[in-house]
Amino acid sequence: MDTVTATRSEPGNRRLAGWLNERLGLQSFRYSVPEHANSLPYLLGGITLAGFVILILTGIYLAQFYHPHPTDAHQSVVYLITAAPLGDLVRSIHFWTAQIVTVTVLLHMLRVLFTGAYKRPREVNWYVGLGLLAVTLSLVFTGTVLKFDQEGLEALQHNKEAAELIAALGSWFSAEFSRSVPLLTRLFNAHVTILPLFFGLLIAAHIYLIKQHGISPKVTPDAVARSTAGEGRSRFDVHLRRLAGYGLIVLALALLFSLVFPAPIGQPGVAGAEVTKPGWMFLWLFPAEEAWGARALVIVPVLLGLLLALVPILDRSPYLSPRRRKALIVVAGVLLIAIVASGVTAALQPVEAHLE
């Protein structure tokens, strides 16, 4: 009788938490994590994941109105903007969240690189992260093509030309691969099924490995790479709260950007014409393409990917401080400056035709 009275006298939120915990085992999220895990630089990966939740929800809505066929795709986007309920706003939130997620995923990778978070025992998670980066950029690329305006069609044509250079590996991008389904439709399938599936598998592996090894230790002059699983004065549920908080701030940013700058849609694509420039995340490749042709679109990203893959193999010292890893930091810094300079050059350059 006393127990029942005590339970009834508990505040509502406590009772709800107790009810949920009993059924869902939420208590297991209250494990220890280091305090620095809750700082913004160490939350960038989680913020990216929160952004993906927004992208999936808005993407499901957009897919109800989008028609993935070369002749109808652009018109269906115009319909979505002009006639679908909240279509323009939802599409703009999708677009701006994708921009923000691309920024946070790149910053997350740079944070991992500069804090040595790829070192033993986290090498495998570095490769999983590279896979996630590739999937994210592929999602951005396919998303750009889907609107099938001039920019989208040009992106597709560049992609097809680059794919021809890698022979059998690029055969998926040819008409012969499937005579019954246009490439645009297959890219839509990739955008909504294949790439999200890869993303799901990779993010599950990423989270599992973070749980196994814990967050990388805080960078101090003498800090060395080691597992921190089960250590720390903070808790994972606090980490999740902050992550959700930043996720809501991302949503707010996407909402405000969507209000002021609606997601762009150009004129219907004209095959063979080159009058646009790619999005900022691919713009840095523009000068390389001008110098070496379509093969630059294959060689440069592959080389950069290989360099990133070599990082844990070349940098095997246990130290995390950038001061004790000067060679790698200098090379990474120079490459980063070169990429940014290439992007700025491309932005200032007039549009050039590259397609053969």
């Binding site: 002749t71 115009v78 002009t82 209000l259 219907p268």
Partner: protein
């Protein structure tokens, strides 16, 4: 268990025995064509590749839509036996309106193969600007994206709630600490 395995293997062998000739027969059945690129500008060229044909067969290539058919030219299959085919280039007339078309290859005997083709405006009509739409009166104008005051208020309100809740979660102290 052992006899079951043998029975399964015999069944698989029989399946292969019967399925393979059927597949081979299908492979030499109807002619097939592919068009590259699958999206092309009016006035540009396409390459039509034909396979599963007999050497010497002449195909008339046409561009078809609901509004009619436009002849593009002819192609003759060459090669050995029923493995013959062709690869021929054809120019799309500049006055073909944008849309979805069928490219059809047809012999005098009535053998036919088709492939989809999407045709866009001619290259010199490409534009980097914002989308242009036709209003009910038939006039063309740039796509407008006005936000009503009501929409703006709702969006700002939602953003403010998101930011407020977000900062509350980010700044909240550890529960129970």
């Amino acid at each position: 268990m052992g006899s079951n395995t043998v029975r399964a293997l015999v069944f698989l062998l029989l399946l292969v025995e019967f399925a393979l000739p059927a597949t081979a027969a299908l492979a030499h059945g109807e002619p097939v064509i592919a068009v590259q690129p699958e999206v092309v500008a009016a006035g540009a060229e396409i390459t039509v590749t034909g396979t599963e044909m007999e050497a010497g067969e002449v195909f008339v290539i046409t561009l078809e839509s609901l509004s009619g058919s436009t002849p593009l030219g002819e192609a003759t299959a060459s090669g050995e036996g029923e493995e013959a085919g062709f690869a021929a280039t054809f120019a799309i007339p500049t006055d073909v309106p944008p849309g979805t078309y069928l490219v059809r290859a047809l012999t005098e005997e009535g053998e036919t193969a088709v492939a989809d083709l999407s045709i866009t405006l001619p290259v010199d009509q490409a534009g980097a600007g914002a989308a242009i739409v036709r209003d009910p009166s038939g006039e063309l104008h740039q796509l407008e994206r006005p936000r009503t005051t009501g929409q703006a208020i709702v969006v700002v309100l939602l953003a403010a709630i998101s930011v407020g809740l977000g900062f509350w979660l980010v700044r909240s102290r550890e529960v129970g600490s």
